[in-house]
Symmetry: C2
Subunit: 320 residues, 2 copies
């Protein structure tokens, strides 16, 4: 625990492994680390595969390092037997920072036993924050509901899009518009970039009220999402992106002086931990003394129904 707080990479890596494996001790260490969190700037980066997200993250790491800021990257990967390759590729590309002690990159899978996120992402972000990294980049692939949930952890979220990939429509469907503080229209030297920018601005304008009225979103009051053109492979637009990130950070810090703003964030943070605790406990119960096997037998012989059995199981949870 002390080693973790002193930013000992090996101790940090061990704790992260414990979290990922669900080791019991991890939980009690997390509890103690909690009071040391709240200092890091948490920046989310999300976007479809092919949008050039990795190169952009790469550029951001380099810029933040030039400002002498330390950077930890949490990459959240959907755990599909098909996707292993692509993600490994991403990781390899980021290895150019491997020798820099001011950069730390870790990937985690997302699926839990009961479906949905394992939710370790939040814990990992807390650990990095407590370790004293200045910046925690949370990188997610795709624009599904899972990614939306992960990105709600971030103080600032950048959505990376490429022109002509149908990303705009995807963004609306998956609720990405609601979480984006900054849009990076990457590969903007391609045809259709200006159209993508125009369409995004139009959508944001139409959705202005919806964005500002959302209860779930904890966003600095008055902030309207920025749309920035970038070509990450050539480093174009990265200055503008860094400026927008700094401005959003400032707006966020100002908002934190308002106790209501802080309360909304704490509430969301708690709901996230609560949901995961429910899942973990529920799963332990089902695995305990073959409860799940018993349940399935009752369903198979028709002596009960899933609704009754689920209710009984939830009632028994507290007694475990």
């Amino acid at each position: 625990m002390e080693d973790v707080l002193n930013r000992d990479i090996r101790a940090g890596a061990r704790l992260l492994r414990w979290i990922d494996d669900g080791v019991g001790e991890a939980r009690s260490i997390l509890k103690q680390l909690y009071s040391h969190t709240g200092k890091a700037a948490i920046v989310g980066i999300t976007g479809n595969p092919g949008a050039g997200k990795s190169t952009l993250v790469d550029q951001l790491i380099t810029r933040y390092r030039a400002q002498k800021k330390t950077v930890a990257v949490v990459a959240v990967d959907p755990s599909s037997p098909f996707s292993g390759g692509a993600i490994l590729g991403d990781r390899i590309r980021m290895q150019e920072h491997a020798l820099d002690e001011g950069v730390f990159i870790r990937s985690f899978a997302t699926r839990g036993h009961l479906g949905g996120l394992t939710g370790t992402t939040a814990d990992v972000v807390h650990v990095f924050d407590a370790m004293g990294w200045d910046l925690v980049l949370v990188e997610t692939v795709g624009v599904g509901q899972d990614e939306v949930e992960v990105q709600r952890l971030a103080h600032t979220t950048v959505v990376v899009m490429a022109p002509g990939m149908g990303d705009e429509i995807q963004a609306i469907k998956a609720g990405i518009l609601e979480i984006a503080d900054i849009f990076a229209v990457n590969k903007s030297d391609r045809d259709g970039a200006d159209r993508t920018v125009r369409e995004l601005r139009l959508m944001l304008d139409m959705g202005k009220e919806a964005i500002q009225q959302q209860q779930e979103r904890v966003c600095p009051p008055g902030w309207m999402p920025r749309v920035i053109k970038t070509v990450s492979t050539k480093g174009e637009g990265i200055d503008e992106l860094m400026t927008a990130l700094a401005e959003h950070r400032k707006a966020y810090e100002n908002a934190c002086r308002d106790p209501n703003f802080v309360r909304a964030r704490l509430r969301r943070e708690f709901l996230d931990v609560f949901r995961r605790t429910l899942f973990t406990r529920g799963w332990s119960y089902l695995m305990h003394e073959d409860h799940l096997k018993e349940v399935v037998e009752k369903l198979q012989d028709g002596s009960s129904d899933p609704y009754t059995l689920a209710k009984q199981a939830v009632n028994a949870l507290g007694r475990l």
Copy 2:
């Protein structure tokens, strides 16, 4: 309850409204309906917006009606303030079946209080099944993890794709390959359709073992996903799609003679109900006597941490 079993549309619609609103009585009716389920064929249709899913669903409804089969459609919509319009459009397009008593269409939102699916979809499917509809079509938009979960409910899942929309990559990332029994490469009169078909077949071939070894997937043994070219606006390829659907149904029914296969399906069904019961109960607890407000106050004055508070809340659940 009797009216619902007699396929009284008004009684069915009322029960569905109760389920959507979380009315308590809905739960006890669902329990009793459960023993009447298991007869309907449940077919999932998923695909990105723009893939031509609505037209394809339309075509399928017409074909099944020509076979004198009754069809109920459950459309699952992500509830985003931005997406209302597009979805309404879909619904209007399906209104050509509005006067046919053998067709019933209902849409539901997906987000729950604690994030993730509300999960009412499974309940709605059970109701339609108990009501005696021959076919239940479960239609989802997009290829996120939520959709994957919804489509796990289906006996047969069709993934609709359009050439050149980057859908293939999305499919890998979101785990769609693992749930698809049939791929419909729609708009296949467009450039790039053959390439999409070729790439899909290659991916399936590479992932063959992964598909067959998957524990989470309950799929008839030996079934390898089919790839079919369609042009839904012209009715092309629909015969082939109907044939593939019938063949998969046959394989599924054969598999159901194996008790292990049935057990795996019951297990998954129970886990779905269990997860939702956990969420509903958890949320009621937090809303009860201002528990959530109390929790946030403790976090704000620093007297506790989210991990301790979540544990206490889960312990208290059984006592509610």
